[in-house]
Assembly symmetry: C2
Homo-oligomer: 130 residues x 2
């Protein structure tokens, strides 16, 4: 594996990911970091986001609505995705023991704890709909 060298751009991306709980898309990260480094390119943002995900300093979250999202908070927590607005929201539940227990019984494989994505309707969208 190649040695990692410092870069201002990567640092700024990390900083932004750690400061927000919005689970921004690559494009949102790009637009934010662009304010500090106007010459940064989208390709660089993607390369760094993937790199951070690879070394475990960020999470890459796939959603059905408009591109992947990134999370700088790597402590164990679950994610919820609103099927109405597409937003990704943190779910700070206790570890769902029942899942691992149930799944262990009749499934050939290992389910990663805290890996799962829940879908539904977020509170905000529920209220707008009524």
């Amino acid at each position: 594996m190649a040695t990692l060298k410092y870069s201002r751009q990567r640092e700024s991306i990390k900083e932004y990911l750690n400061s927000t709980c919005e689970h921004p898309t690559a494009d949102a990260v790009y637009l934010h970091v662009k304010q500090e480094y106007p010459n940064i390119s989208l390709g660089t943002v993607y390369r760094n986001l993937n790199l951070l995900a690879d070394i475990g300093e960020a999470l890459k979250i796939t959603t059905p609505y408009g591109g992947d999202r990134f999370d700088g908070h790597t402590h164990p927590h679950y994610h919820f995705c609103c099927t109405t607005c597409g937003r990704v929201i943190d779910l700070d539940l206790e570890q769902l023991q029942c899942v691992n227990k149930e799944a262990g019984r009749n499934f050939d494989g290992i389910i990663e704890s805290h890996s799962m994505m829940f879908y539904g309707t977020c509170g905000e969208c529920m209220r707008k709909h009524s």
Copy 2:
């Protein structure tokens, strides 16, 4: 909403989705149906898969690995996605009451039962890796 008219192609797609538990990608469906209808186009496959998903006769499953997948079995069940090989596997667990209970307590929104996707390593990939 427009009235639905019969089409051989859609029928063949439905038939295939109901016959397999592989959760094929749109392209896999295309290649299969192409054997019966060599002139079918990928666009038609996509249109019908989305239509079936819209009217509730199929499930569209987003995964991080190479495109969405489709499932003709619409009875309530969970899905697991292998982070090594990308395959999607059915998880026929009892309904995970604990999830709804836990989540209901401290989450503003509604989690759809059976909507969640689990990630991990499938048995086959586990054994290959050792």
